[in-house]
């Protein structure tokens, strides 16, 4: 068919091809304006459509950014409110615990001060000063000795009396001083008590001051969140991403724990539900083991919900305390029962492994040897079977964090994807526009010969026209519209 068409004009392929080429060029030249219009309109249409798409994506992106902002701010606000509330509760506790006893403490301090004052007053009472006995004794001793024995005796008596009186007075003075020292010594515990009480007050006040500083900082953050500041928004986004990563990591660890738990109970489960039945492509015993683990996780979620540690189910959180307590007891009981079942299954697994080992020894023709200290791994497996369900129960905490942070992370990821999509759409639009222009030029390149002729004619004609105008003042041969088209 192609060959027939090729040789339509002549038996020589080259000549025939040349005729075809000329025909094609003529046809293309004649259809030039329509082809240009087609390329341009198509390019503009695609460009316009892509711009519209881009605008729509931009609007969607803006809405999503606004939604992310709202979600993030709402989460941050809730978190800040909870933190501030918690700190106020702590302050309240400090006030209630320490400062409620302040009147008592004040009374103690006042008593101590009063007692110290009284002691001080008592200690400050001056003891009777020893009179100037020494001077009298010295004066009496210095009296010139008399030859009269009676006088001498009298003087001796006087001296003795004076000396006795001096000794007595000194003794009294010493006693009084000792008493003052004793009183001063009794003041020491009062001082200590006073110091301790003041120390307690200082500690409490310092704690309050620290707490008030924390509250101040949190209030500033809260105010920034409420004002919707970019700084607060960035901090919340970063915090959310960190939370997402940490929660994801903990969930991964929990998943590994669940996997170990699964392997611990899957084999003995075949003793209960049989090892040959299948649901779909999975063994029924494996599904049963999986269901037990999932129920444990569900019970853990309910337990932590009823303890108000997590807030995944608002209906549980809003229950009255009595109902919530019942739910807590129920979920804890079921969890404990399941942990007990898992421990027994783990023990059964150990028994089955022992039996299998003994069978292999029998099949090999060897005497069955009982391994020593076999009870250690048995107890270990049982403990593992009992503990793992409780450990898995705590998965609710990272799960909640993961779900909450997932909203933000998903929002950020979707915004990123929309940005990329917008860029791609704009690129496609620009490319379509550019390609349409390229096609116009390419089209012209194919009909370059007739275009050159046309160009030559159009250049020659104005000169001829001018010449003819000057001669005969005739109208131009080319219509104005055609001239415009050629120029375009």
């Amino acid at each position: 068919m192609f060959n027939q068409l090729l040789l339509l004009w002549s038996d020589s392929p080259a000549l025939s091809l040349a005729i075809w080429l000329v025909l094609a060029v003529v046809v293309l030249y004649l259809g030039r304006s329509h082809a240009h219009q087609l390329f341009r309109t198509s390019g503009r249409a695609v460009h316009g459509a892509m711009r519209l798409w881009g605008r729509a994506i931009r609007q969607l992106e803006d809405r999503l950014v606004a939604r992310n902002r709202d979600v993030l701010l709402a989460m941050g606000r809730r978190s800040a409110e909870a933190a501030i509330e918690r700190d106020f509760k702590r302050v309240h506790t400090i006030m209630e615990r320490d400062l409620s006893r302040y009147p008592n403490l004040h009374r103690k301090i006042a008593d101590a001060i009063e007692k110290i004052e009284a002691d001080y007053q008592e200690a400050s009472d001056a003891p009777p000063l020893p009179p100037a006995w020494s001077e009298v004794v010295e004066t009496v001793s210095a009296l010139p000795g008399s030859s009269d024995p009676a006088v001498h005796k009298v003087l001796d008596n006087i001296r003795e009396v004076i000396e006795d009186a001096h000794k007595e007075t000194l003794k009294l003075y010493q006693k009084s001083s000792r008493e003052r020292h004793r009183i001063l010594a009794t003041m020491q515990p009062q001082w200590r008590s006073l110091d301790q009480n003041l120390g307690k007050v200082k500690h409490t006040i310092d704690g309050l001051e620290e707490r008030s500083q924390t509250i101040d900082e949190q209030m500033q953050e809260y105010a920034a969140i409420r004002a919707g500041e970019d700084k607060a928004l960035n901090a919340l986004t970063a915090s959310s991403l960190t939370q997402f990563l940490i929660a994801g990591l903990v969930l991964f660890v929990a998943l590994l724990g669940g996997l170990i738990n699964f392997h611990l109970i899957a084999m003995p489960m075949s003793e209960m539900v049989g090892g040959t039945s299948y649901i779909g492509s999975m063994r029924t015993s494996d599904i049963a083991a999986l269901v037990i683990i999932l129920i444990e996780v569900a019970m853990g979620v309910f337990l932590l919900e009823s303890l108000r540690v997590t807030h995944l189910f608002p209906i549980i959180g809003s229950m009255d305390d009595r109902m919530r307590r019942r739910m807590m007891v129920a979920s804890l009981t079921i969890l404990t029962l399941l942990a007990g079942i898992e421990a027994s299954l783990a023990y059964m697994r150990d028994l089955l492994a022992l039996d299998r080992e003994a069978l292999n020894q029998t099949l090999a023709g060897a005497a069955v040897v009982e391994a020593q200290f076999r009870w250690i791994p048995s107890i270990g497996q049982m403990l593992l079977g009992f503990i793992l369900p409780f450990a898995l129960a705590f998965v609710a905490i990272p799960l909640e964090s993961f779900i909450h942070s997932l909203r933000t992370v998903l929002g950020v990821v979707v915004v990123g994807l929309l940005r990329v999509l917008r860029l791609v759409v704009r690129l496609i639009g620009g490319l379509a526009n550019h390609v349409s222009k390229m096609l116009v030029h390419l089209y012209d390149m194919m009909i370059v010969v007739p275009l050159a002729v046309e160009h030559w004619v159009s250049q020659r004609r104005p000169r001829q026209d001018k010449h003819e105008e000057s001669d005969w003042a005739q109208e131009p041969l080319v219509e104005p519209d055609q001239t415009m088209e050629v120029k375009s």
Binding site: M267, S270, E271, G274, G275, T276, S277, Y278, I279, G280, T284, L351, L352, D355, R356, L359, N360, T362, L363, A364, G365
Partner: protein
């Protein structure tokens, strides 16, 4: 509507629940008791220990003897389908081993003739009846058939879906004279099995039974 939904869910669950899975295994072991091959039967104990260790709950196993007329259920000396519960299955394995020890202990004289084809057909029937997904027929023999007069065994075998494994195929005296006889014997059985739709393997090293059957 609600009842219909519950019924639908139940139907899906029951429909998905499948008691007999295609990956269940069935093993039929043919032990040659003819002539001098009885001396090799001690090696069969190791093979049985391997099979009992490898098979699991839901799998089936049967052991039959090859003698002058093997196409009969009477030649099946022990058969078992292991229970769903692993502990019960272990008990069954112990009992099976004891039975086989007794059977092998009682074989003191070799059979006069060797009807391997009859045993293979009987084995195929047994394996088909089990409905297992993986079917193995182990032939513990030198593969030298010695039929009674009048026995007709030269017809095509139906071995579809069965993997036939020839074990411990010992060389005979005439193989030492012309080793091509041994190769001819093996290729003859291979062509019979493969033309019948089965798969064929030869394992002569009884110390290397690791991948004899597919593990679950």
């Amino acid at each position: 509507m609600k009842r219909l939904l519950i019924l639908g869910v139940l139907l899906v669950v029951v429909g998905c629940s499948d008691a007999g899975r295609p990956d269940q295994r069935a093993v039929y072991l043919l032990l040659d008791t003819s002539g001098t091959y009885t001396e090799e039967l001690d090696k069969a104990r190791g093979l049985m220990a391997y099979l009992l260790g490898a098979l699991d709950s839901g799998d089936s196993m049967a052991v039959a003897l090859i003698d002058g007329g093997s196409f009969t259920e009477k030649n099946i000396v022990a058969k078992v389908t292991f229970d769903d519960r692993p502990s019960v299955a272990n008990g069954q394995k112990r009992a099976f081993k004891e039975t086989m020890d007794q059977v092998l202990g009682n074989i003191d004289r070799g059979a006069a003739h060797t009807d391997i084809t009859g045993g293979v057909i009987q084995g195929h029937d047994y394996l088909t009846e089990t409905g297992a997904g993986q079917r193995y027929l182990f032939v513990f023999s030198d593969l030298e058939e010695d039929l009674k007069k009048g026995q007709i065994r030269d017809f095509p075998l139906d071995m579809s879906g069965v993997e036939v494994v020839a074990l411990n195929v010992t060389k005979l005296r005439q193989d030492n004279i012309d080793p091509r006889d041994y190769a001819k014997r093996l290729s003859h059985w291979q062509s019979r099995v493969e033309s019948g739709g089965g798969q064929w393997r030869v394992v002569n090293d009884m110390e290397r039974l690791g991948d004899l059957i597919q593990w679950r």
